[in-house]
């Protein structure tokens, strides 16, 4: 039985535990139908040309972990940004862990998708936002069909969340192989501000496949900083589908740090629905062995006077594979668009691969769009310069790699995250930092 067949038949089982009469369930039904038709994406599709899901689809995944596994905070503390005060929404094998979480309904909502989906008082919000930012897509439909749990975050008008919100998804591997499909909904109302940190972490070496969908609405004059930390075991794979709809005068940034995992696919989509919007997409990828990280981005400029900035950097060693596929779409009305994209990669070993593909579709005639991608080795001139200052070749290389990756971190606004990621980069590259970068 293929994974697709298994999923389809398990949908019936899933239906036993949800309200079949709800509006949401109609959407689930439509979604499963769509998935039945389309199935998993294959390399024949342009957007999946360099990433094959085959190796991860052959596992015999379990979809419904039987029991909630109680985790001790001390065992998983290291995966939290724990040195600052945050709201935390924690899931273990897809099930909410109240004991590890610190949710809130005061001033802001940082709580559970299951409550939002099932409680009457959230119905207007769900009707307005749920499943509204996503296009028709196989992986998204699969997630929609099995939508039950995830993080629900709403920052009301003109409120600034006083602390960052962390979303953590742990997999325990109690089941032999596990597939989870969290569904997150994030709404920043007019003038709202918040910072979000998302992480998926497997706690054993058992295969895990996460297919997560996050819908984000950044309304007029709202501001979002979203950090995704991807540093999972090499037995865990992640398909991250994030859709961000922005209204006028808003700004949103998503910064993705990919250091681990077996296969990671980031489908990151920004839709600009108003003037004077700024969208920022940044990423640092440092992988080795047989790891595979694919960034597939879309920025759709639909109104005039907006900006987008994309900056992705990758360092690939061993037999690792990096993919960057960045699409910028500028509609005819979107005059005075400034859209920038840059993707720079360093291949450490001859056996590593990198595919970088910018895709610009511009229908307006008064825009500034630029893209640049580089795939290369180290800058020899810079290496020589460092050597003349007494820094040996190996250390100079490490320092340059660090500097290359570190450049993206300048816009990380939470010092604790910056520190942690800096440390992680240094560790990956093997630089002993005699300083706080």
């Amino acid at each position: 039985m293929t994974l697709k067949d298994k999923l389809i038949s398990s949908y019936l089982l899933f239906e036993e535990n949800v309200d079949l009469e709800s509006d949401i369930h109609k959407q689930r039904d439509e979604a499963i139908k769509f998935f039945v038709e389309t199935g998993f994406p294959t390399k024949k599709e342009e957007a999946w040309k360099y990433t094959s899901l085959k190796p991860i689809l052959k596992e015999d995944y379990n979809f419904f972990p039987k029991k909630e596994d109680a985790l001790d905070y001390k065992d998983v503390k290291k995966y939290f940004i724990h040195d600052i005060d945050t709201y935390t929404i924690v899931f273990v094998d897809g099930i909410f862990s109240s004991q590890l979480s610190n949710t809130t309904h005061e001033r802001i909502d940082a709580c559970l998708m299951s409550s939002a989906l099932n409680k009457d008082k959230y119905k207007p919000v769900i009707d307005k936002y749920f499943n509204k930012a996503v296009p028709k897509d196989g992986m998204v439909s699969l997630n929609t069909a099995f939508t039950r749990e995830g993080a629900y975050i709403r920052i009301p008008k003109n409120i600034t969340a006083e602390k960052p919100i962390q979303i953590l998804n742990f997999s325990t591997g109690n089941q032999e192989a596990l597939m989870v499909q969290p569904r997150n909904l994030i709404i920043l109302e007019e003038g709202a501000e918040t910072e979000i940190i998302e992480r998926h972490q497997s706690l054993t070496e058992n295969p895990v496949l996460t297919n997560v969908v996050t819908e984000v609405f950044v309304e007029k004059n709202a501001h979002l900083d979203y950090y995704k930390i991807q540093n999972d075991h090499t037995s865990a794979s992640l398909i991250d589908n994030t859709f961000i709809k922005q209204d006028r005068d808003s700004s949103a940034s998503v910064q993705t740090f990919s250091f681990g995992g077996k296969l990671t696919r980031n489908n990151l989509n920004f839709y600009q629905h108003g003037e004077n919007i700024n969208s920022i997409l940044k990423g640092v990828t440092i992988i080795e062995g047989k790891q595979h990280v694919d960034h597939n981005t879309l920025v759709h400029h639909q109104e005039p006077n907006c900006e987008s900035h994309q900056d992705y950097k990758g360092i690939f060693s061993g037999k690792s594979v990096g993919v960057f596929n960045g699409k910028i779409l500028v509609d005819k009305v979107a005059q005075k668009t400034n859209a920038f994209q840059s993707n720079n990669n360093i291949l450490i070993d001859d056996t590593a691969t990198c595919n970088s593909k910018p895709q610009l579709e511009i229908f307006a005639d008064d825009v500034k769009c630029s893209h640049g991608c580089t795939i290369g080795q180290m800058d020899e001139e810079a290496l020589y310069y460092l050597q003349t200052r007494g820094i040996p070749y190996k250390e100079a290389r490490a320092l340059l790699m660090f500097a290359f990756a570190n450049k993206v971190l300048s816009s990380v606004r939470i010092p604790e995250i910056k520190k942690r990621i800096t440390k992680q980069i240094a560790l990956k590259i093997g630089v002993e930092l005699g300083f706080d970068a």
């Binding site: 050597q387 003349t388 007494g390 820094i391 660090f402 500097a403 290359f404 570190n406 005699g434 300083f435």
Partner: protein
């Protein structure tokens, strides 16, 4: 301190240095002058160990040992410093962190413990004041977006921090206005001791008004064709290089 004997060097198969002899002793300031393309910068690069240049003949002796086969970092550990004509921009590494890494790598090579942070800060403060460098400047990425003057000042700041035995200044005055030249040369002059030596590579005589050389050498077509005292530089200023070329031809 430095003895160069019959040095020949190629770049991409073409011979640039065609038999250089040069001796520099502690406490001395030498200037190498010459027209564009005479091989001045090549000489600086070859002494610093740039692997783009192939030494085909001759030796470079530094403090009684042959350094011709050493890598640039090993030469730096021995106390050779090159101030670049075009310093390289390194985004993502701050000036302070770079200097700290550099000093501690040199110390490591000399079997010394890393410099205590307190001493490092004190030294950075002293040396940056010497070169009139703003504190803010030190936290910026190395050379990135620096003006020509800032880059050169930063080179001399690194030199001040590393305290080399032999400092090679490659066209340090190029791109500098008069005020910047004054700051940079004051810095170089204050760093001079009886134990260290300076080798200036320059196209113009201008810098030599500020850093007075003990010896001036004229480099033409890969060879030192004339050496003299500081008055030779003045003469070159007035008469250019052609009369030396003519002298050369006449002597053949």
């Amino acid at each position: 301190m430095l003895k160069i004997k019959n040095l020949h060097a190629n770049v991409e198969g073409q011979e640039i240095l065609k038999g250089i002899d040069l001796e520099i002793n502690p406490g001395e300031v030498h200037a190498i002058m010459g027209p564009n393309g005479s091989g001045k910068s090549t000489l600086a690069s070859v002494i610093a160990g740039n692997e783009d240049f192939e030494v085909t003949e001759g030796d470079i002796i530094f403090e009684e040992s042959n350094i011709s086969e050493l890598s640039p970092d090993e030469r730096a550990h021995k106390g050779i410093f090159l101030s670049f004509q075009y310093p390289v921009e390194i985004p993502g590494v701050s000036v302070t962190n770079f200097v700290r890494t550099s000093i501690n790598e040199v110390r490591k090579a000399r079997n010394l413990e890393p410099m205590p942070a307190k001493d490092m800060l004190k030294m950075i403060k002293e040396k940056s004041e010497l070169l009139k460098i703003d504190r803010k400047f030190l936290s910026r990425s190395l050379n990135e977006g620096f003006s020509g003057g800032e880059k050169k000042r930063n080179e001399i700041f690194q030199m001040a921090m590393l305290e080399p035995k032999l400092a090679i200044l490659d066209e340090t005055d190029s791109g500098l206005d008069i005020d910047a030249i004054r700051v940079v040369s004051d810095g170089v002059n204050q760093l001079k001791t009886k134990e260290n030596a300076t080798l200036m590579i320059t196209h113009y005589q201008r810098l030599l008004d500020y850093i007075i050389p003990d010896y001036v050498h004229v480099l033409l077509d890969g060879k030192i064709v004339k050496s003299g005292g500081k008055e030779l530089a003045k003469e070159l200023e007035v008469r250019g290089y052609d009369w030396i070329k003519e002298e050369q031809i006449a002597s053949l």
